[in-house]
Subunit: 206 residues, 2 copies
Amino acid sequence: MTGYPAPLARVIEQLSRLPGIGEKTAGRLAFFLLKEGKESVLALAGSMERLKREMGLCPQCFGLSEIPAGTEEVAPCRVCRDPGRDNHTICVVEEPSDLMAVERSGEYKGLYHVLHGAIFPLNGVGPDALKIKELMARVRAHPPVEIIVATNATRAGDATALYLAKMVKPLDIRITRIARGLPMGGEIEYTDAGTLGEALDGRREL
Amino acid sequence: MTGYPAPLARVIEQLSRLPGIGEKTAGRLAFFLLKEGKESVLALAGSMERLKREMGLCPQCFGLSEIPAGTEEVAPCRVCRDPGRDNHTICVVEEPSDLMAVERSGEYKGLYHVLHGAIFPLNGVGPDALKIKELMARVRAHPPVEIIVATNATRAGDATALYLAKMVKPLDIRITRIARGLPMGGEIEYTDAGTLGEALDGRREL
């Protein structure tokens, strides 16, 4: 970033630390911010600061929860607070964004548990790096009827599901995994062999 | 952004106003910021705030210039302040980023003038929207020996160059435009017809 004035070089350096944003894109964004009105840049910067100040993890499910204004402590999240949710079912997901995706499906009325990752030994992520201890403590304190594992259909997601099954089985709690198969609108011709194999394997009576 | 907590929805909305960043990418970035350490997010936000607080336009060339700490006024930029620069030549560019690109070439030792755009009547950008009045005032006050027009090789860049030529000619100042032709490493086979035509047209004695 030779020749860039310091404030510009600083923004480019900071922006290029974001995922998927290289130095070139960072430069383009920085010049955009230079041209933008002061208010709208301050609104962007302010929204980031508020994100870190106002968002925390729910002490029960580790999903996202807001920090009420004037306090430091994170309140239980909207789902955990909702008396209308079925608290006999816990859906285990990898990330807060997965929780939101399941919520958007509108199909699920139980509670959640967010692991904050998946077991991936190659990257040094073992069970201890995830919120698995917390899940087990929660499950032992208030045993649910069913645990639905909604980790990704990836190696790490599979490894995590298997590990959870092994941990939960002795507790005599039902543990299931969400189905795999063709996505909605999926065409046989363009579906990869792995997915087709799993779709065949998981076939159901009509 | 249904179902997103307000601080998260706010960041996504702000980020998706950036060029080339849609709502999906904005969401991905927002979740990245959620996971990032507080310090590094505050550093990013702070760098944007400082960008708007510490950068202004040079009162002479309208390139970027820093606002010295503790003042409100923009100082002349590094190039305009440099007594070693040749002040008999002014290179006219469209944007501050173009000025920096010319600086990086290391080939130019004169001064600059940044127009902040190019004439593009279809988008309603006429000469008055650019720093052309300021250029003419500057040129009349201290006539340079040469004005080098380094606008883009686009229709708008061409229109701007022609307009400047018409304005400057009566002042009896030499006005030139940077050369067009094959870029370094360019291969004839893969060069578009327009560029090849201009390269032939601009051929020089060996």
